[in-house]
């Protein structure tokens, strides 16, 4: 989220606790807003459908369907998320702003088309017990979700942070309202119809924002698919990162002892999924700290360092700026660790009560603890990747994001073999390993920053 630092710094500049609070709240909202809204939205729909949608399993079927739509669209568009952001940044740098809108349209079209083409046979053949409406909504939902992720990263890259959160809020309110309207008429299909309509609205809101801000004589273009227009390493990075973050869930869903068939070919794991989704809610403060620390303090010295290099500062000054950068990376990562430690402690203290309150067995408690730690490490990893992106270390980032799914697959497989006590450790240890390797690489890079800046470029 390059560029957010400016707004955050404005808030921090007030030098008051209120300003500080505002900065962290703002950072928390814009960094976590969209996915928190989606998790809460889907949970609320489920909660309010109890007693209205029968059988009760249909609600689970709805939630699992949504989860798969998220999963497939995130991993699928992961290929273009980072690379398209970079493509847009390059066009802006090259003062070719007019090429942005047609390529955005081209990418949305490609993503929708690919989603539909992939989803159609799945919907046609793998859901024999479902209605035609369900199958059609499944296909449409995938196309819409894929488009939404692309629009989201695009607008994030263009710094429309507030608008994104607002559109997500409106979109999920509408999703909730539509779901409530259609649930009594169509049951589970009604919930899905509400979801698709609400997200269609959300997508249109984003597209409206894009059209408001970008203009072009050309409607559609496919420059992004020309050789070299998008960085291959970024495409792979986006794909592997999303895969790495999801692959342990997939394994639990389809492992005989831990997963159950829910709807058509879609499995879920009751024991595994809930703690994971809860633990992701616990990283909100970590995300806020990450954004504030990296995008303000680190970026400030990052800019100063490169200005010092370019504008002929003394070596002392250059080294000082480098040390400040290192200091703020360290401090940022420590702060994320600190705040997430608090989250872990809170979970340790209140986790049991929380589960009781939601009505889930305390058997999940150990898994929840491990997942909270794993999710916290994922935030630290995001911080490391972000700094490495700033240093333009695309190959290192790619290496780390390949390590993540590989480690996750192996360690999760081991944990599945070892039995229920070890569930969750695969994910958490994979994150820990990737974070440790990432920290080591980052430290190497920063150690040699001037050498590489001057000698190896």
């Amino acid at each position: 989220m390059a560029g957010i630092g400016f707004e955050l710094r404005k808030l921090l500049k007030k030098q008051t606790y209120m300003g500080l609070l505002q900065a962290y709240t703002f950072a928390g909202v814009i960094s976590s807003g969209p996915w928190v809204l989606s998790i809460i939205g889907i949970m609320l729909i489920g909660l309010f459908s109890l007693g209205a949608v029968f059988p009760k399993e249909a609600i689970t079927q709805f939630q699992v369907t949504i989860t798969y739509l998220f999963l497939i669209s995130l991993i699928g568009t992961g290929v273009v998320q980072l690379s398209f952001t970079r493509f847009v940044a390059d066009r802006i740098f090259g003062k070719e702003d007019a090429t942005i809108l047609p390529n955005f349209n081209g990418l949305i079209l490609t993503a929708s088309a690919v989603s539909v083409v992939l989803a159609l046979p799945v919907a046609a053949f793998l859901f024999p017990e479902q209605t035609v409406l369900y199958r059609m909504l499944f296909v449409m939902g995938l196309g819409i979700m894929s488009s939404i992720w692309i629009a989201t990263v695009f607008l994030t890259g263009m710094k429309h942070y507030r608008a994104i959160v607002l559109i997500f809020f409106v979109g999920y309110s509408a999703t909730f309202a539509f779901a409530m309207i259609f649930k009594s008429m169509l049951g589970m299909d009604g919930l899905l119809l509400g979801f698709v309509l609400g997200h269609y609205l959300l997508l249109m809101g984003m597209i409206w924002l894009v059209y408001k801000n970008y203009h072009s004589d050309q409607f559609i273009a496919f420059d992004i698919w020309k050789r070299g227009a998008m960085y291959g390493s970024l495409m792979a990075t986006g794909f592997f990162f999303n895969l790495g973050a999801w692959v342990d869930k997939l394994m639990f869903w389809y492992y005989p002892g831990t997963g159950q068939q829910v709807i058509g070919p879609l499995n879920a794991s009751v024991i595994y999924d809930f703690p994971i989704f809860l633990s992701y809610l616990s990283v909100i403060p970590g995300m806020a700290v990450f954004l504030v620390r990296i995008e303000t303090d680190f970026v400030e010295y990052y800019d100063k360092f490169y200005n010092a290099v370019r504008e002929g500062a003394t070596l002392d000054h250059i080294e000082r700026m480098r040390n400040q950068m290192v200091h703020h990376v360290r401090r940022g990562l420590f702060d994320i660790a600190k705040i997430q430690t608090i989250a872990v402690l809170v979970t340790l203290a209140l986790g049991g009560a929380l589960l009781d309150w939601i009505g889930i067995s305390r058997l999940y408690l150990p898994l929840l603890y491990v997942d909270v730690v794993g999710a916290a490490l994922q935030v630290v990893l995001l911080g490391i990747l972000n700094v490495l992106f700033y240093l333009d270390q695309r190959r290192l980032v790619l290496g780390l994001t390949i390590l993540l799914p590989v480690a996750n697959v192996i360690l999760t497989a081991v944990s599945l073999q070892l039995g229920a006590v070890w569930f969750g450790y695969g994910f958490a240890l994979a994150m820990l390993l990737t974070v440790l390797v990432g920290v080591w690489m980052l430290s190497q890079k920063l150690e040699q920053l001037e050498f590489q800046t001057f000698m190896l470029q």
Binding site: A313, L315, Q448, E450, L456
Partner: protein, 516 residues
């Protein structure tokens, strides 16, 4: 002249495995016309029995046009090396440095900095330079991409640089060192020779140092101008050198650090070259003194002036009308260094006394059209439009019989051939006191001076003195006649081509006997 060849098409050049004499030429023959290049051409043609090779050292290929000279038949090898050609760096990849090589690097730099006159300094430098290749301990990659090299650059910056900007220091160091690897490549590539003969210090000189060190063959150095001095003049005028000192740090009496760095660099190259050369040839005594001052060992220095083909010009003496032509002729390019404006101003005074007198300016104007235009305007302002004639390039054998005085108003010259050519045609010279001109007009003390005065020498940028001296000669037939006769005697005795060839033949023969 052969068909013009682009300097990049190396294939069109003659190639040989071995030559008798390998000339090391920086920015001259055959791609740049001028005094030094003509001299090189003259030397090669003067020894048809020897096989010559030439290495042309240039900055970048695009800085040079086609060849300006037809290649003599006995030039059997020609190759080019462009030391600042872009994009020839090896691919970026971290490299390792050999600790011994880095120790040598430190040692050589410390010698240059603290103890230039140490007896082992030139040898250390040559050994270091000989490591500067893929097969040596100090590959270009090591210099560009190794941690040790980076650490050394940082250390040197901290210890030495008085300019705050590290990035400028870094790039200056890179730029200054890059030619060494290109030259080392060339040293491996070029044909074996019995003598290496550089025609300047600078990069050509150090290529000679390296070749001598590597192949143990004698190394001769002929200097026309003084390379280090010319480089200093360039560097003092150079606008591209950065000075990043702040208002408080800046002391106008102190030269900016990067200027100093470049100047010291060329001084050191010059010193090492003088130390390594077996024979150091100057054109005239003032330059030899300068070489001694810059570190040339006195025993190896000698003066060999330029020489001309006197026989080609001697018939012209009879073609001159009985009356001395009232024509002052400046033969040279119309460029600021020739200070043509002083000549035009002097003409105003000359014409006041000798209304028939004319000023001819014979030389191309394309090098500095602006300056040429300013000269024309000056002539106009002084009401001399029909007295000052811009003739463009002229054939000297047709021009000289119509001329009464060869004039040079330059602010810098070495040993101008036009004066000698004028002498051979019996035309006295009127020159500013630059380079060897005093020696050419009054003679070196002794036999040379006894030949008489063959013209006049005046201070630079002094139109009145120039006019006064012109009037003394053109207004006094007897004085003119004496100067003319002295001019002919002087050129025949000291500045004939045969003299030049004889003396170089002796040096070449001595060096052919040389055993390492």
């Amino acid at each position: 002249m052969t068909t013009p060849t682009s300097p990049t098409s190396d294939n069109a050049f003659p190639h040989a495995q071995e030559v008798d004499i390998l000339l090391l030429l920086e920015g001259t023959f055959p791609f740049v016309a001028g005094g030094v290049s003509s001299w090189v051409n003259q030397i090669i043609r003067g020894f048809p029995e020897l096989r010559f090779g030439a290495v042309f050292i240039g900055s970048r290929p695009q800085d040079y046009g086609p060849m300006r000279y037809a290649l003599p038949d006995n030039l059997v090898h020609l190759e080019t090396v462009y030391i600042y050609e872009d994009q020839q760096n090896p691919p970026v990849k971290p490299a390792r440095a050999d600790p011994d090589a880095m120790a040598l690097v430190e040692q050589v730099h410390s010698r240059f900095e603290n103890d230039l006159k140490a007896p082992d300094c030139p040898h250390l430098f040559a050994s270091l330079m000989d490591e500067a290749g893929p097969d040596g301990k100090l590959s270009h990659e090591t210099f560009l991409y190794s941690q040790a090299s980076w650490d050394y650059i940082k250390k040197s910056y901290k210890r030495r640089s008085t300019d705050p900007s590290f990035v400028d220091y870094f790039w200056t160091i890179r730029t200054i060192h890059t030619p060494f690897w290109r030259l080392r490549d060339t040293a491996l590539r070029c044909p074996s020779a019995r003598i290496y003969h550089a025609v300047s210090t600078g990069y050509a000189g150090i290529l000679g140092v390296l070749l001598k060190h590597r192949y143990k063959r004698p190394f001769m150095l002929s200097e026309h101008g003084i390379y280090v001095k010319e480089r200093k003049i360039d560097l003092y005028q150079a606008q591209w050198l950065k000075d990043n000192r702040s208002v408080f740090e800046r002391d106008p009496s102190r030269v900016s650090y990067f200027r100093q760095l470049w100047i010291r660099f060329f001084e050191h190259l010059g010193y090492v070259t003088y130390q390594a050369a077996d024979d150091i040839i100057a054109l005239y005594e003032a330059n030899r003194q300068r070489q001694l001052h810059d570190g040339a060992p006195p025993g190896r220095t000698v003066n060999i002036p330029n020489g001309i083909d006197v026989a080609k010009f001697s018939p012209l003496r009879t073609q001159r009308p009985v009356q001395i032509p009232q024509v002052l002729c400046l033969i040279g390019r119309v460029v600021p260094i020739k200070d043509i404006k002083t000549f035009i101003r002097a003409m105003r005074m000359v014409v006041n006394h000798l209304p028939d007198a004319e000023a001819w300016i014979a030389g191309p104007e394309d090098e500095s059209p602006e300056y040429a235009q300013e000269c024309r305007e000056l002539a106009q302002q002084l009401d001399l439009v029909d007295k000052v004639k811009f003739l463009g390039f002229q054939k000297l054998t047709e021009l000289l019989p119509k001329v009464g005085l060869v004039v040079l108003s330059s602010i810098s010259e070495s040993l101008p051939l036009v004066i000698l050519e004028g002498y051979a045609a019996g035309v006295p010279a009127l020159s500013t006191d630059v380079g060897s001109c005093r020696q050419l007009v009054y003679g070196l003390s002794g036999e040379d001076a006894d030949l008489g005065v063959s013209g006049r020498v005046v201070r630079i940028a002094d139109p009145q003195a120039l006019a006064q001296a012109a009037l003394e000669l053109l207004g006094d037939a007897e004085a003119w006649q004496q100067a003319s006769e002295a001019a002919v005697r002087r050129v025949e005795k000291y500045y004939s081509q045969d003299m030049l060839f004889t003396r170089y033949r002796a040096l070449y023969e001595k060096n052919f006997q040389w055993q390492a």
